[in-house]
């Protein structure tokens, strides 16, 4: 339904119509609990009342009996709801979530438990993750039932159903009730005025009543608080696994670099020196040649070590910090890079290093894929977050899925609780932002 943009009678009509429609939907989504609880309550109260009808006893005894009746009725209502909510609340909560997302932009990421696979044991019994069964079919059925009805999210949805029925339901039903009652009164000749007043009140309330959904949905339609924590733990575990993997790979790379490079060359140099020692008396010229060779080897070893060190922790970064290291990167880049910085002092070292390598990777990407002429790198620090933005006027279409190292950057930045934002439409310009929360030294 399209709402006309500006105010005016047409817009009001649309708003009222929309409001009424949404009220009807919300009433439909939240009326299940009362539909069960109210008849059970009324019937139960009648039945329980019949037990003590005509009871002639002191006041205290009658009060006790009434209390007992009340408790019995409450128990029946609870039992009825206990049967109904597992069957209905998941579907209703999902529908309500869709409404909240479409109407109010309140979005929740919710996960229901998935059915675990069943496995056959050596004994021939089937294990469903909880208990043994004789047949596979039985095990599957039980696993499905268990996953569905022992899901904490389902219980949380049940709580939503109960709370919504006493908050969302009455408020969103108000305009509908006012309209209905107003129309009923309006056809009664003597009460026409009251009827019209009620109809107008109902119409005026219609655009607003359904908005009760927002506060309740925000609090109760999300994931179970407990699973929110466990999700975070899962996330952190994944990050830790990534980090340890990356660290192990890095150590291996360094070890291999030293072993195959500098170490091997040192051995070669030692051998050359030994040979020179042998030759120095008998054939000085040959000894000189061997020594010259040894020196050349040492130069190569040094160059290799330099490259290795640059990959571990670039010397400029260690000596000068992030801002100057990025300046140095910009100077060495194959395209013209402008650096704008608003970072008052040095960030924490690990963050500094992560951001530096991210920027280095991004600049390398620009050189490789973007065909850009101008690149701007912007470093800034605000609200305890260090932000690096790399912008180029290239062809765009940067995609983390395309294995351009962007996913690696993302993982590294995630480890510090940061984020990577990519804005790269085909045809450019590309703007990639790395933001990491940190303290400045």
């Amino acid at each position: 339904m399209r709402i006309p943009p500006r105010g005016g009678p047409l817009r009001w009509c649309a708003e009222v119509g929309l409001g009424l429609y949404r009220s009807v939907v919300l009433v439909g989504l939240t009326c299940v609990v009362p539909l069960v609880a109210v008849p059970v309550g009324i019937g139960g109260a009648r039945l329980a009342g019949s037990w003590t009808a005509g009871l002639d006893a002191p006041l205290a005894v009658r009060m006790l009996a009434t209390l007992g009746e009340g408790l019995a009725v409450a128990f029946w209502i609870a039992a009825a709801l206990f049967i109904v909510y597992p069957l209905t609340s998941r579907a209703l909560a999902r529908a309500a979530r869709r409404c909240a997302a479409e109407w109010l932009e309140v979005r929740h990421e919710v996960h229901y438990r998935s059915v675990p696979p069943v496995t056959r044991m050596a004994t021939g019994a089937w294990w469903d993750g909880e208990e043994y069964h004789k047949t596979e079919r039985e095990a599957r059925r039980r696993a499905a039932v268990h996953a569905r009805f022992h899901d904490p999210q389902l219980h949380w949805d049940g709580l939503w159903a109960v709370v919504a029925s006493v908050t969302v339901l009455p408020v969103s039903a108000l305009p509908l009730l006012a309209l209905g009652l107003g129309i009923y009164l309006a056809v009664t000749p003597a009460l026409l005025g009251y009827g019209i007043a009620l109809i107008v009140a109902g119409l005026l309330a219609a655009p607003f009543a359904w908005r009760i959904l927002r506060p309740v949905a925000t609090r109760l339609l999300g994931p179970v608080p407990r699973t929110r924590l466990s999700r975070r733990v899962e996330e952190l575990e994944a990050i830790r696994a990534d980090l340890t993997q990356a660290q192990a790979a890095e150590l291996e790379r360094i070890e291999r670099g030293l072993h195959d490079g500098a170490q091997a060359r040192m051995v070669a140099m030692g051998m050359s020196m030994g040979a020179a020692e042998q030759l120095v008396d008998s054939n000085p010229d040959a000894a000189k040649a061997v020594l010259a060779e040894a020196r050349a080897t040492s130069a190569t070893a040094l160059a290799e070590l330099r490259t290795l060190v640059r990959g571990i922790n670039p010397p400029v970064l260690a000596e000068r910090g992030l801002v100057d290291a990025v300046q140095a990167l910009a100077l060495d880049a194959a395209v013209v890079v402008d650096v704008l910085t608003r970072v008052p002092s040095r960030p924490e070292r690990p963050v500094e290093s992560a951001v530096y390598f991210a920027v280095a990777e991004l600049l390398a990407n620009v050189a490789k894929h973007a065909e850009a002429e101008r690149v701007t790198v912007e470093l800034s620090y605000a609200t305890r977050t260090l932000t690096a933005t790399v912008e180029d006027d290239g062809v765009g279409g940067a995609d983390p899925a395309a294995g351009s190292g962007l996913s690696g950057i993302e993982r590294r930045v995630h480890a510090f609780g940061g984020r990577l934002e990519i804005d790269s439409p085909a045809g450019g310009p590309t703007r990639i932002t790395v933001a990491v929360p940190c303290e400045l030294s």
Binding site: R295, L302, E319, A328, D332, V335, V336, D338
Partner: protein
């Protein structure tokens, strides 16, 4: 020459002292920290100083900062900076004052005693001795208003060697040309880069500087 050596590693410091003394120079001070370097430079006013970039107490770029500070106090004080790695950024900072008398080389270069002493003498004479790796980086940089566009391939290679601080004779030797040809090239290079001074050493430094200026600085 009177030389100050600033290097924190004992072995290397000793090695350098012995090396320059073997060539008949005197080491007036051998220091091992940033503040001491600045003090020694200002006190002794050496003919040339050999300074390591990374010095205690902070092990950041103390040596470089000390050299820059000393050159602010004594313009043109000849300094040869040594480092395990060479960075364009540092080279630009060193060259920025335009006084010459600057060397910036990889520590590996010390291994070749003659080249090292040659660089030292050039710096002491007010010339430049930049490491070839840094020069190639400096001149490989893409530029906005490319002054190199005006230069021919041959002029460019002459400029590169000039930036390393070689004399016309040395450049002629490297490029297998006559010295006269090189001086012709240098004249056209100066003209194209718009460098006008009389002092030749200074002019050579300025040619490189003019080029760097034209490459445009990153805004701070």
């Amino acid at each position: 020459m009177r030389i100050v050596v600033a290097e924190d590693l004992f072995l290397l410091r000793n090695g350098m002292v012995q090396l320059v003394e073997a060539f008949g120079h005197t080491v007036v001070a051998a220091v091992e920290s940033g503040p001491a370097t600045l003090e020694a430079l200002l006190e002794h006013r050496p003919d040339v100083a050999i300074v390591d970039v990374r010095l205690p107490p902070t092990f950041s770029d103390e040596g470089l900062q000390a050299a820059l500070a000393a050159r602010r106090a004594v313009p043109g004080l000849p300094v040869l900076i040594l480092s395990q790695h060479v960075e364009q950024l540092y080279a630009r900072e060193l060259l920025a004052d335009g006084h010459g008398g600057i060397g910036y080389q990889l520590k590996d270069r010390v291994l070749d005693a003659e080249q090292f002493l040659d660089a030292l003498t050039r710096v002491a004479g007010g010339g430049t001795a930049l490491d070839p790796t840094v020069v190639s980086k400096l001149l490989a940089r893409p530029t906005r208003a490319d002054p190199l566009a005006a230069l021919t391939e041959r002029e460019r290679s002459v400029l590169e060697l000039m930036a390393e601080g070689l004399s016309n004779a040395a450049i002629a030797g490297r490029l297998f040309l006559s010295e006269g040809a090189i001086s012709k090239y240098t004249t056209t290079i100066f003209a194209k880069l718009g460098v006008v001074t009389d002092d030749d050493t200074n002019r050579r430094v300025r040619a490189v500087l003019a080029y760097l200026e034209a490459t445009g600085r990153s805004e701070q």
